[in-house]
Symmetry: C2
Subunit: 482 residues, 2 copies
Amino acid sequence: MPKRAGLDSFFAPKSVAVVGATPTEAKGGYGIIFNMVDSFQGPVYPVNPGRDEILGVKCYPSLRDLKGKVEMAVVFVPAEKVPGVLEDAVEAGVKAAVIESGGFAEVGEEGKRLSDRCKEISEKSGLRIWGPNCTGLVNTDPFIFTPFVPVRRGRERLKPGCLGIIAQSGMLAAGFLIQYVVSGFFTISKACAIGNKLDVNEVEVLQYMAKDPKTKAVVAYLESIVDGHAFLEVAKDMAGRKPLAIIKGGRYEESARAALSHTASLAGSDEIIEGALHQAGVIRLEDFHDLMNLGKAFSLHPGPFNLATPQGDNIAIITITGGAGVVTIDMVRSAGLKMADLEERTLKNLAKVFPDWMPPHNPVDIYPALEQNGIGIFADVIREVLADNKVDGVILLPFANRNMEYFPFDLVGKEVKRRGKAMVSWMFGDTRYFGHFEECMREFGVPVYSDIRSCVIAIDAYLRFSRIARSKASERPPREMT
Amino acid sequence: MPKRAGLDSFFAPKSVAVVGATPTEAKGGYGIIFNMVDSFQGPVYPVNPGRDEILGVKCYPSLRDLKGKVEMAVVFVPAEKVPGVLEDAVEAGVKAAVIESGGFAEVGEEGKRLSDRCKEISEKSGLRIWGPNCTGLVNTDPFIFTPFVPVRRGRERLKPGCLGIIAQSGMLAAGFLIQYVVSGFFTISKACAIGNKLDVNEVEVLQYMAKDPKTKAVVAYLESIVDGHAFLEVAKDMAGRKPLAIIKGGRYEESARAALSHTASLAGSDEIIEGALHQAGVIRLEDFHDLMNLGKAFSLHPGPFNLATPQGDNIAIITITGGAGVVTIDMVRSAGLKMADLEERTLKNLAKVFPDWMPPHNPVDIYPALEQNGIGIFADVIREVLADNKVDGVILLPFANRNMEYFPFDLVGKEVKRRGKAMVSWMFGDTRYFGHFEECMREFGVPVYSDIRSCVIAIDAYLRFSRIARSKASERPPREMT
């Protein structure tokens, strides 16, 4: 059996062929070739025996006509034709194939047979296979974009970031891409839809991201974990170094069964999975909304999740509304975090800008100070609270209105950077002012959410990550590079 | 002690005075008079001894100059001046006063004394007091809008709806108004910010809404419940008739203390509250985001929460992505709902539009049928699933892209109305197509969310409400009117 190459030929191929490329816009094969021609910087070869050229690029009848020219092939042809295409790929010296077609092990006996045949080809030849039944992968640097969702000027629009995404469902990955990546909700290093995992699986992708210097944190949606032991090993290696948050679907019998039919994978016993993930420092979430929102927090590296200071889990709340303060305390405490007991010095300094009838405490209800001093007072209050040695993280609850233009972003940013403590912000009120506030805050690593739950999930993750990082640093000599 | 009038003079006053009206735009007294002049349909009287006119309307030095002319006064002057204003109000024959000023029982001894003085005036004279320390109330029909948040053309923009909102925090209420009501996120019948509850409290407001024919459902944020017994009585009366969902802040010691300082109210033992609320059929939530999203579901009356059919809690999922199906099953089961076991007939009919390699089951993964038949197939699949006697509610998980223009809204709407079953929808993908989809779906009572949690919370509430309604209907003779 030939030695198996790593994943570099997927993430950084020098040349790409698209087998099943077509000029028919309604078909997936069009989206793939469109994206490649539009954004890939090396040679692109459409393959389709019925065409001479597609999108102005010369088209080839078969991969066999491209001997030695193609490093990676993206394959989107009917399932029954895929084994033949893979044989062509082997013949042509292709190193890696992304199979986006469905109709394999997820659809019954005939598909299973085709799947086995592909696996056999891969094992015998060393050709690495990604998928099938997936949208493939995105790398922002160097740029490669295999999904069939058409994204014009992808290379310019998908700015390189530090977040890695893994999803075991093609449509979800496509949805995540459009809703969160293309829209600029967060920036990514890599996004991977791994599909049926005939060859490349979530463990290998995660190992790759664990070593990838451009990936600083990972969020993943997984239906099954093929090799639980190896997965936990890489998760443990990442703990305190690169945060990892996952949704592991299939907690109940019905969902485990659905996962099986969807990606032909077996889900393990949920109790065992839950315990093992926690032990390995993995954050487990339930809803995509939460996972993507935490991804946004992670994507702000080298912001607050690279914290040096925090030792504990003591939260200070700075709020413009007492009511939101009350609700946030409830959610902070439900999450197992504590409310910080502010130092005397902090209270004394805050009292200077608070009216006499309102002695400050945690939660810091900033409204009266704001009425008295104007919106600039946010900077003073945030400075004092961040400087407090008993505070590990701050949740900010401001109100969006036209005054947000005058929010002291620069002063706040300076303090956040200086103290290196976690800060997250809720936002409510006039939605017209959300975007500007969020943009300004993310510059210094503060994620902004419109639900309090996401604030608590993010700050909990930040603080948990920092504690693991600290305890790892004190336990062992500097980690050897792997 | 004089007989105390009900709340009609707040919700439907024939004339209004604004004490503390000012032409200075930065002040709250400006917002209030602006809104009144702009949108109130009866006579409006600004009161301010230092002005002759405000916004072109004649201004009066005192309420005493308006004897017999004012039904409701909105008061926004410094706390120490409020008792004098109330005495003027009594003299002038005012029936109801909304006090928006802060600085009363929530700020210490002097404030407490002022508060007691106001209470005394109210009790002796029969003048009803709303607040203090609040933004007052909104009624969409007849239109009255007391908050100091300026909303131009409020009467046109705030279309009458069936949802009642109660919030015990002024800023929150203001935020909810702007973010959810003014933006059209949902339509309301009434919104009430009750503040310190010196006289009018949450129980009386809830009683009013329970009887109000224009209010069909209520969502509330409460920090304290002054008269737990009376609150539970009205909640029980509403059960199965008008859904009621609340956030009751102050579950932990720290939050209970914060609630105390914020609205001068005592929170009860949380365990007792939790049990009693559940017994009374009240839905308790934790985050504002969830409460507002459930409010959206309720606001779609006479949609699915007026269900006649559902007897159980069996959910069918129709999804374009297997992965979202798996995650949704997990959340459905976590919420205590069941996955419906589809009837043979349903499976047989669905199989006709599904490819051979993909026999349908619940969750119904519609993607292959869609590939084969186009987006119109949603209507056929939804029709079959809604017709299934073992299905009580449907969660739809489609993908937003430009094809959404061709979604068979009319056919789907017809089936939803015909079957009278609960349906909710998630939406992910290209956010540009969210708005249109949501608008079309809400026409026939289907709320659309961008998180799955909100789908599950809404369908759970719909089904729970229907079950209570059915069991009440079978247990007793038609409810006497109260």
